[in-house]
Amino acid sequence: MNQSKEKRSFTRGMSELHTWGGLVFGWLLFVIFLTGTLAVFEQELTHWMQPNVRISEVEPVQALASAEKKLRQLSPKADTWMIALPQQRHQDLEITWIKGKKTVENHLNPQSGAIIKTPETEGGHFLAHFHFELHSGKGGLWLVTLASMVMLAALVSGIAIRRQVFKDFFRLRWRKNWLNVHTMTGVFTLPFVLLITYTGLTVTFLMLLPVAPQVLYGSSWKGPQSVAAKNFERPRANLPGELVPLTSLLPLAEAELGKGKISFIRVRNPGDQQAVVTFFRTIDDTIVAISNRAVFDGVTGELLGSQTTWSKYVHVYRSLVGLHIARFGGYPISWLYFTAGLISCVMIAAGLIFFTIKRRSRYARNSQMAQWMYRAIEALNITAITGIIIACIAYLWANRLLPFDIKERADAEITAFFSIWLIMLLHSFLRSPLRAWIEQLRIAAVLCIGLPVLNALTTNVGLLPAIARNDWMTASVDLTAASLGIILAITAWRISLKEKNNEKLLEQQSSLSSSSSSVNLPIERIPL
């Protein structure tokens, strides 16, 4: 007796957690998953958003020579120089110099060494960052962490309240209703969602809950890097010293780290007697997301040391990071993550929609307050699902439509993202839910399908020229946006069909039973 009572309350507790935790954090989770999915192609999006930065392939040595020449000319006495060499998915030579609080970043033409004038943009980096910080620092990071934990708990509780979903899934009992879409996509992406949520959480917890470092290191803790990596840094001598040509160090670094594998170079205190030059290896071909490095004396050119092996637990930790950021396997892995991410988005969206469908008839008979709450939930669903889709694609539109040389252009793009999202929130409260769904899906579809057109009209890296130049990084953004747009358009069209059916049904019912004023639709006939 007691046992059965406990069991009942266990199921109820789990279903409470799944329903309400899933609802409140589901909005956030959809946003996190969608922006995270897009961030898989962070570099491609950045490339797309910098249409002026198109360079032809060069030898690393030549790119480095151009970068070095420019840095010596721009800021010979800087605190730090940084050079990002062109890579397969980062076809851009980027130089950065830091002096005091000033940081300047430039894109260079690797052949001529000239600075490429390009409008400021945060590129795909904004989406990748928004995905875990929600553009609001540590508070956002906590919110994302809580949401991710609710995601893990929702997976466990979802399985606990509906164990038969696995049976249904493998017996191919896939029905076409929202609950089934939610559970079937849920089973399908279960391994992916577990992996991505868990690996994401291990990273955020080290930032948010540094209990272990504090207990072990106390106040001497200076971040995980200081423990994992050997330290070759040394203080400034404040005596002038001629910096050795970086190009002469490149072959030595390549001997340590592998030919053509250098992706990043950092020079501390150039022009000082204690200058240090560090070469970092790319992580694009390894699951362990930590850069092997070779460090040289900046004046004598002598090798100070290198690090190519790491402690086994650093390996484990950075492998989890590697599994999360998905840079290790080239395009096949990126597309796998992208697809799995999109299906997970569908899973979350279907759950949110099912919440409202299940309760629609119940709340209709309830108090004013309950009805208002129900209305708000429906509007927030629309804002969180179609609203964020529109905001993301509008971010790309803003990149092309904002004037070239306005001040703070990168911030203006982000402002466009948030304002469009806010407008979608207002829109979803002002229109009836079904109309709002259809209209926002249509807006999203038009913006997605229109993106290649906009790109072709405003730049010279449109779809056809890009393909002709073999610039698939740009062309794929156009093509992917257009294909997603077609899916959105089909969804909008099918929902509008349901709306029409629904109107017909209402007419029939009212002509059949003109005496009763309230119409109770059977649940499966309710739109959406």
Partner: protein
């Protein structure tokens, strides 16, 4: 002043023993978020101090666990028959691990 304090205390005591649905849910959420935070911190501290390894090894090994601890606490808070039981369970484990950590730190 004293009576105000006393009334507030009485009110709080009654709320904490409350069995109505809303209070239960609020207490469970608080247990999940703050109890989970406390539980994760103390378990993590106990773990790294009890591991007889080099500091850096213990540190990078310990990063594997906080998501599991916190999610476990979250589930536990909602799986317990009542919110009061949830709080009791979480606090018992938190304080035991905290005690373990203190002992381990003292032995070190």
């Amino acid at each position: 002043m004293n009576t105000v304090m006393f009334d507030a205390f009485k009110w709080l005591k009654e709320r904490l023993a409350d069995t109505d649905k809303t209070t239960q849910t609020i207490l469970r959420i608080l247990a999940a978020v703050f109890g989970g935070y406390a539980l994760t911190s103390s378990m993590l501290a106990a773990l790294v101090l009890l591991l007889p390894w080099a500091k850096a090894d213990a540190l990078f090994f310990s990063v594997l666990f906080p998501p599991l601890f916190y999610t476990g606490a979250l589930l536990w808070a909602f799986a317990a028959p009542t919110a009061q039981r949830a709080w009791r369970n979480l606090l018992v484990v938190t304080f035991s691990c905290g005690f373990l950590a203190l002992v381990a730190d003292w032995v070190r």
